[in-house]
Amino acid sequence: MTSPPIVLRLSGITKRFGPLVANDSISLTLHKGEVLALLGENGAGKTTLMNILFGHYVADEGSIEAFGQPLPPGSPRAALAAGIGMVHQHFTLADNLSVLDNIAVGTESLWRPRSDRAAAKVKLLDLARRFGLEVRPDALVGDLSVGERQRAEILKALYRDARVLILDEPTAVLTPQESASLFDTLRRLTADGLAVVFISHKMNEVFAASDTVAVLRGGRLVATRNTAETDREELAELMVGRALKPPTPTPLEPGEPVLTLSGVTVASGHGRPLLDAVDLTVRRRQIVGIAGVSGNGQTALAELVSGLIHPDSGTMALKGEAAGNASPAEMVRRGVARIPEDRHAAGLVGAMAVWENLIAERYHDPAFQRFGLIRRGAARAYAEEVIAAFDVRCPGPDARTQLLSGGNMQKLILGRTLAHGPDLILASQPTRGLDVGAVSYVHGRLLEARAAGAGVLVISEDLDEILALADGITVAYHGRLTPVLPHGRVSVRQLGLLMAGHWEILPEIVGEGVP
């Protein structure tokens, strides 16, 4: 059997950002009809490599050949013309245009007086039928679900006659069922002769969808394997560079409630409320995980417990006392440790020093100020302690925070919030974008705090994270929360159905839960 022709050849790609080598002479080949999984931790260089391939970045060294022709560097237009299509992690669709307009935009000359929408629609529907990518061409993108948007993005690439499709972390925003349907689509595409590269840091997807897997670590290609000839343990070790063992939560008896929401509604100003009559209780020594596809009220819930927004109706209580109108500062004072969803935008002031960020929630404390003057010596000394206790890798308390890696930023936030023995911990997407080592550190700290008597509310789009940590799981859908389901009594398939809004299965789960 002759191997299928090579469609893409990357040779010796090197890319530096200042002192950081994001890609270190990476060479890869992609064959017709192949699905290549690019596996690696965050920061391993996967996205950089694909951005070079697609012309967003220019490589410092190395060359790319597509279908036997050299690909001019730094030009997305040339990449598109060569038949390379990319679906970004963050979709690049305009919400206020229809699917059809989004897909056709940029494919016609601006000088043409009118566009041929009818022909575009025929082509689009034909593609959609061929590859099982069901879309409504005239629907506004803003009204689509995340899964539909992703299908529109894939169709956009196919519409431009892509023969090589790059998908950057395509499943990050999908339910397990939607992911399965995506993998179906990929199989149909490769059967038609396309080649696919998909970027992932999730092991199960690699086995579900790929033919070949390339593992990146620290900017280097450490191994390429036939997916059928490797296993999870080997890939995990290649990815991390050492063997890892997951944290194992010991069962604990939950204590009294620390956070109680009853009938909390938060209006959105238009249409469906952000939170709709939510009931939730988090007890001491208990981790409650909120699963759900993003955009189903998790952000509003996090802002509510952070003190940034307040319920329009219903009540929120901390340790039995009303806290519905508490400000962020008051929430901190009352023992809530808050880990924000977006550590760059909401957690830290990147332009300020590490010590300044560490005292940000308690700079009024007499330990850090006297008569309005900052006690810089005391603040620095405190910062040194936290840096040591939470293993923050940084040059010192005076380092500018934005120079820290994502994992160290998260440790900084953990240090700021957990160092004071909180009663309740709100952890929003606590490990998003972190490498495997940092993830297990964060999980370990959360489990430690639980053992020390804190109640923990974990909001995560990563179902594996919820399953690894939570004692009880609730699913967010359209601003509502299911009752807390005990971990172990609910299967991944059931969670997936709940995440997609099939709450009619709830009685069967809750029924099973009744002893």
């Binding site: 220019v58 730094g74 962020p328 957690g347 002031v349 300020m352 300044e356 940000a360 100020q369």
Partner: protein
């Protein structure tokens, strides 16, 4: 060519950026000077001599720098909090208006009490002028660039109306000018037989004070956090709205004080040409200083020197003194480019 962000900006680059920007501006404007037919080097030589070549020239430059330090601080303080105050010109006139009203004989107080009273009242008037746009910004998201800019014209028309009416000096030979302030409201001279007055010390003191507040107090800490990342500041529990309003009062107050000091230290009365655009030049000063309160002093002296030196130069050779405006504007543009280059590096390809 493309821009890539730098992970780290060396201190030397930050310090050299304004120097390089000014050098580039001088080089660009040399083309204009050459166009008038004048010898470029001699023109710049005369400019330097006119700005710093004698005791008189130096005191004139410092006199001119005094209001620029204050409007520069006004812009720097506001811009650091991302409050785009383009209305320092109007706030300056509000301060000047209060100075001639209170200092024009309405209050009968000894000098040691009258001067501070007039200064505080003038600063309050300037602060109040910016408070309105700031409240509109934090409450309703109204763009303060538009409101503060348009308020300048409203204030100028108000001053014009008052100078033609209620505040018109009966002894002013029909000119639209106010009555002079009383002697007790005049700032003492700093150097005898020059125009340099103690307003300079006030400006220098405030520059140092603002720097201390910025680095040593929880006020300054809050200001910097809110300016750099308001979302993170709010999340951590800082009073973002209060910080914005406080910043507005401070920025408007500094500009108002510039008006008071121009009236009480230099002019003695209010006319419509009290400020040749100090409010707008303050923006250039702040940008050249990279919004640093101490840097503002150096930038203000530089800009003042350009204006004063260009006047002297234009008297000696056929180069119009408008070249000063062009130089200052070009410096601002070059500084914006230089600032960009300290944060990003240019890459080919």
């Amino acid at each position: 060519m493309r821009l890539e962000p730098r992970e780290h900006t060396p201190l030397a680059a930050r310090l050299l950026a304004p120097v390089a920007a000014v050098a580039a501006a001088l080089a660009l404007c040399a083309l204009l000077v050459a166009w008038t037919g004048a010898p470029v080097l001699r023109a710049y030589g005369l400019l330097l001599e006119g700005a710093a070549g004698s005791r008189f020239a130096l005191t004139e430059t410092l006199t001119r720098a005094t209001p620029l330090i204050l409007t520069g601080l006004a812009a720097a303080v506001a811009f650091r909090a991302k409050l785009w105050n383009i209305g320092a010109e109007g706030q300056l006139y509000m301060g000047a208006l209060v100075a001639v009203v209170l200092g024009g004989g309405m209050l009968d107080l000894p000098a040691w009490l009258l001067l501070p009273t007039v200064m505080i009242a003038g600063a309050a008037a300037g602060g109040a002028t910016l408070l309105g746009p700031a409240v509109l910004k934090v409450r309703f998201g109204v763009d303060e660039v538009v409101t503060t800019l348009l308020l300048n014209f409203i204030v100028l028309l108000l001053v014009s109306m008052l100078l033609e009416g209620a505040l018109k000096d009966p002894m002013g030979m029909g000119w639209p000018q106010s009555a002079p302030v009383v002697e007790a409201a005049e700032l003492p001279k700093l150097v005898e037989r020059t125009r340099l007055h103690t307003g300079l010390l006030v400006a220098l003191g405030l520059s140092a004070l603002l720097w201390l507040i910025d680095t040593r107090t929880i006020w300054g800490y809050e200001n910097r956090a809110v300016g750099a990342n308001p979302r993170a500041a709010a999340f951590a529990g800082m009073p973002v709205t209060r910080v914005m309003l406080r910043t507005a009062l401070l920025s408007g107050g500094l500009a108002g004080l510039a008006g008071v000091i121009e009236v009480c230290g230099l002019k003695g009365y209010l006319t419509l040409d009290l400020s040749p655009g100090f409010g707008y030049s303050g923006i250039v000063v702040a940008m050249l200083a990279q919004l640093h309160p101490v840097g503002v002093v150096g930038a203000a002296v530089f800009i003042a020197g350009i204006f004063v030196g260009a006047d002297a130069m234009s008297r000696a050779m056929p180069v119009p003194n408008y070249i000063a405006d062009v130089l200052v504007a070009t410096s601002l543009l070059c500084m914006l480019v230089a600032g960009l280059l300290t944060r990003y590096r240019l890459r080919r390809g």
